[in-house]
Amino acid sequence: MASSGTGSPPGVPLVELRGITKRYPGVTANRDMNLVVRPGQVHAVVGENGAGKSTLMRILYGEERPDSGDLLLDGVPARFRSPADAIAAGIGMVHQHFLLAENLTVLENVVLGAETSRRGLLDRRASGRALRDLGERYGLAVDPGARIEHLGLGERQRVEILKALYRGARVLILDEPTTVLAPGEVTRLFASLAELRARGLAVLFISHKLDEVLSVSDHITVIRAGTAVGEFAAGEADPGVLTRLIAGGDLPPAARAGRAESGPVVLRLEGLRADAVQEATLELARGEILGIAGVQGNGQSELIDALVGTREITAGTVRLGGRDATRLGVRQRRRLGLACIPEDRHRHALALPATLWENVMLGSEDLRRRSRWRLDRAAAREAAGEIGARLGIGAPSPDVPAAALSGGNQQKLVVGRALRGRPEVLLAAHPTLGVDVGAQAVIWDLLRDARDAGLAVLLVSADLDEVLALSDRVQVMLRGRLTPALPAGELTPARLVRLMTGTR
């Protein structure tokens, strides 16, 4: 099944994407994007968060359909209506978050949906043999009888790769495959990739980590703002050039010098530990924006939760306005002046089917305190109306559901809600993720104005532009730890990328 790797004539790419454009409400994820995938190559696709890598891979894997552009398989135009079509065409994908049934065995997971049968019965022996062969051939050995729940992340990833190979993949997409792996496992994965390449398969390797990309790839495509901005053959690529391309060399360097006068410290973390957060120490003063930069998945989400009060802090302290807030609940922290732009607009910030005023009431501690047990609809409607008018949210009334707003306007509502209670400290987590440029400008201005008026802002963002455009000082989060603070004036985009990816 898996040996059909070299089926295409030499010179013809296995897969080619031509002029792919994909729009979502408010954002263009891919714009006139081209990608050529040749057999026997490890092809890296690198770019910032939100650069459009994932969308492109989802299009290639049939999970999304492009608004325009063509997909060619072995030089022949093709159209995928679902991942099933893509799999049938020999494309396999290993998602960043594994899609395995925990309580089934390795073999059961691999054959699920592609079972070999003999006289109507499952032929475990034959499929077991096929699986073991595959494992040996590519250095991906996993015990077929082991249950997924007993396996480590490295083994689970091997199962995912085997799953794709078992279905006859000729093109294997690996989305950020190394983020979950220990260093030893990374080496092992790369050995397997070399084996796959030697057998004529194509591997699409999506990554942030430049050193890994440089060590394993034959070809590198850099994506920025939804389109390819650079193509390099192995050996030609220079880390400096790549970094500049990823960050966008046309960006202004550091946006502004750090403010000279900083007020009293209002938020202080000392040696904070909470699950993936290994060690977070920081000081945030009145009237400044402290940016926490980092590639997503390095403990930022856990840090945000620990600060909001929804994740248990296992060690260290949080001091909010001079008071120890380490053991305080969400509401108590809000009363000490903490406000929050939650990380994920749809999951954590808003109840989309609920009206604007209901969402404002939900997240406004002052309104809640004032109304005590009663639901003060009038006050919430008025507050929602004010936010809408001030931020230009085009809503006819506070009684429309939040779902009726565009992503940018939903986010404006979230930001407006966080700012209206006159907070002391604002936790701004990815405040402009997935919003259009117009809304981004409004939100950036709001945050700057609030800072100038004395608000202390902790900005957590994976967007380089945003961190550099807003922050007075920057700390980088890498593998659960925060680096010491650097004045934003001393940072260039290239240096920040190096810090974020842990390269020298």
């Binding site: 408010g26 703002a225 909001v308 809000r334 109840a351 707003l405 259009d436 440029v437 532009d465």
Partner: protein, 399 residues
């Protein structure tokens, strides 16, 4: 020739007319509050299925419906249907409170039976003036129902046990506990398998006197139970709780997006416990209309099944007190009109089937309407997003 022309004109006129009617009909359908779309669709579906079943059973569907309507519309039938609907209303209300928070109290059945038994036993042993006696019996029922529901709530909060399973299974435990208490504790000394009779001071008065004051006389023998008034008051109270209090707001928001409510400081475990207590308390009251209005004792023959019907009623009523009241009245009406079917030689089980089909189709119809709504919302978002679909080139982003 001539006739042909006439026919032709008539025909076009007719077509135009039909198109017109269809258009106005469509406009009217769009004007119907969307909340009604799902139940209406469900009732229509149930009617189709029942018609088919009646035809298969050899009865004339048309005549059967007519008989049911005629019998059901008689004044004494209406009063009876209203009386019958009270228990379904209360059970439905109890279920709906949890549904609004995406919790599922499937244990109303056990809660109301256990509560009714304890209320009957305590009430029979007391000697108090009327209003106080009734109040005490109600309080016992509320506490008992809430306590039984609390078991499931605590299991969920402490151990993560799904309340769907625990409440469902606790029904069986409740049945056994009720049987044990009846046989061994409360019925000691009698052989009837029943609690002692409640004294008159613990009984609910009829509303006939009250109706007489406003000039309404119920026809011969019919009597409107006092529980109807209590149910209306409770329905209004639940409506206010859900829509006018911060607790109700948090409850609804928890149902819509639990993760977001948590980020904003609404403690989910507290919400689960309080909501289940409220639901169990209301469930505890569901047995009282029968206990205090008709039976005056709790015996082996005490009606069962209302807790499950309550789930259906809550679904049909889309979890709002007014909707639940209408759904309960429909179920009461169907139950009452089933009585005439026997006499007409039509199997009265047809009504039970109809009730079942209504529930299944309401779930299906609700999903259909929900998907349509979602598509509409998505279209709305797309249309709004159109102007900024192509953002300015990134190079132009100057902070």
């Amino acid at each position: 020739m001539n006739t042909g022309q006439t026919a032709n004109t008539a025909n076009t006129g007719h077509t135009a007319n039909t198109a017109n009617t269809v258009n106005t009909a469509r406009a009217r359908i769009r004007g119907v509050p969307r909340a009604l779309a799902a139940p209406a669709l469900a009732l229509l579906l149930a009617l189709v299925v029942a018609t088919a079943l009646l035809a298969v059973a050899g009865a004339s569907p048309g005549r059967t419906y007519l008989t049911m309507l005629e019998f059901g519309a008689r004044p004494d039938s209406v009063v009876s249907a209203v009386n019958r609907s009270v228990v379904y209303f209360l059970a439905g209300l109890a279920v709906a409170v949890t549904f609004r928070m995406n919790l599922f109290n499937i244990g109303v059945e056990g809660q109301y039976r256990l509560a009714a038994l304890l209320a009957a036993a305590v009430g029979a042993g007391l000697d108090l003036p009327t209003p106080l006696h009734v109040a005490v019996v109600c309080a016992v029922a509320v506490l008992a129902g809430a306590a039984w529901a609390a078991l499931a709530a605590l299991l969920k909060v402490w151990r993560g046990v799904s309340e769907v399973l625990s409440t469902l299974l606790l029904n069986y435990v409740a049945t056994a506990v009720v049987a044990y208490l009846l046989a061994e504790v409360f019925a000691a000394g009698s052989t009837t398998g029943s609690t002692a009779e409640l004294p008159p001071s613990a009984r609910l008065p009829e509303l006939n006197g009250l109706l007489g004051l406003v000039g309404v006389t119920l026809p011969g023998g019919a009597s409107l139970g006092g529980a109807v008034l209590g149910a209306v008051v409770l329905g209004v109270a639940v409506h206010l709780l859900l829509t006018r209090t911060l607790f109700g707001h948090d409850l609804r928001m928890s149902g819509l997006n639990p993760a977001a409510t948590r980020v904003h400081g609404v403690e989910p475990r507290r919400m689960v416990i309080v909501t289940m207590l409220v639901s169990g308390g209301i469930a505890g009251l569901a047995g009282l209309p029968h206990l205090l209005g008709t039976a005056y004792h709790f015996g082996l023959d005490f009606p069962a099944g209302a807790g499950f019907t309550g789930i259906a009623v809550a679904l049909l009523g889309r979890n709002t007190p007014l909707g639940i009241a209408l759904a309960a009245l429909l179920f009461g009406f169907l139950e009452r009109s089933a009585l005439i079917l026997d006499i007409e030689g039509v199997p009265k089980e047809i009504v039970t089937i109809m009730q079942g089909v209504i529930v299944i189709s309401v779930v299906v119809a609700h999903e259909v309407v929900r998907r349509a709504d979602r598509r509409r919302a998505a279209r709305l978002v797309r249309e709004r997003a159109e102007p900024d679909a192509t953002p300015a080139p990134v190079a132009g982003r100057v902070p």
